[in-house]
Amino acid sequence: MVATPIGAVTPIIQQSTMRPPGVDGSNGVGRAYTPPGTDGVGQTGFADALARGLQAVSDLEGSSDAVAQSLATGGGASVEDLMVATTQAQLGVELLAQVRDRALEAYQEIMRMPV
């Protein structure tokens, strides 16, 4: 249940080891610039990454709810399971909020650009 959130982060790690487009000739001259990390890793852009991040956070919240219900109904979950699950869900939400803030900030910075 916790393997999913890293999915949104992995491409960011990968892009530091990727060569810039055009260096190896695979991106031909005249081809539109493709930001690193968006080709060959099975995603199409920030919107998709954000959607997957949202889904991961939603999964964390869902599993946290399931553990809470299991604990309340005597279903075998323990207190530490619940505390860890709720903490993970909280951290996931905070991470998502940070990503949203940064993206919004970047967008507003561009919109303030005098043209």
């Binding site: 393997a3 399971d81 903490t87 951290l91």
Partner: protein, 136 residues
Amino acid sequence: MGAFDAMDIGRTGVGFARYWLDNLSHNVANVNTVTNPDEEPFRARFVVAGANGAEITPSGSGVHVADVVDAVGDAPLLYSPDHPLANEEGYVQGAAVDLAGQLTDMMLAQRTYQANVRTIQTAKEAYESALQIGRG
């Protein structure tokens, strides 16, 4: 590798310590359990820890209860002729529980629990400080 591995690993440690405490409570609660000397006495349950897989993955790391073994050795015989479980010689069999050892183990289990909670807290604080990078 998941995002919250340290927390999940710490959770296995907390779970193990809690199970250890459960068994210690069981042993201490049964310290006065007596049986007929012909029967198997109550024996203290010892929890054996086992490491999960060597890979640090969400499902394959941390600790698990590898085994629960019974205390060995002879249970004490107590002279109590009026006891309904006494044999012909008037003896009943006590529990094979070393109370002092159980209470010492309880301190260890409590510290184990606290130590694993601390790893979870430290991991949480580390994640929170990572989130501080973008703040402000």
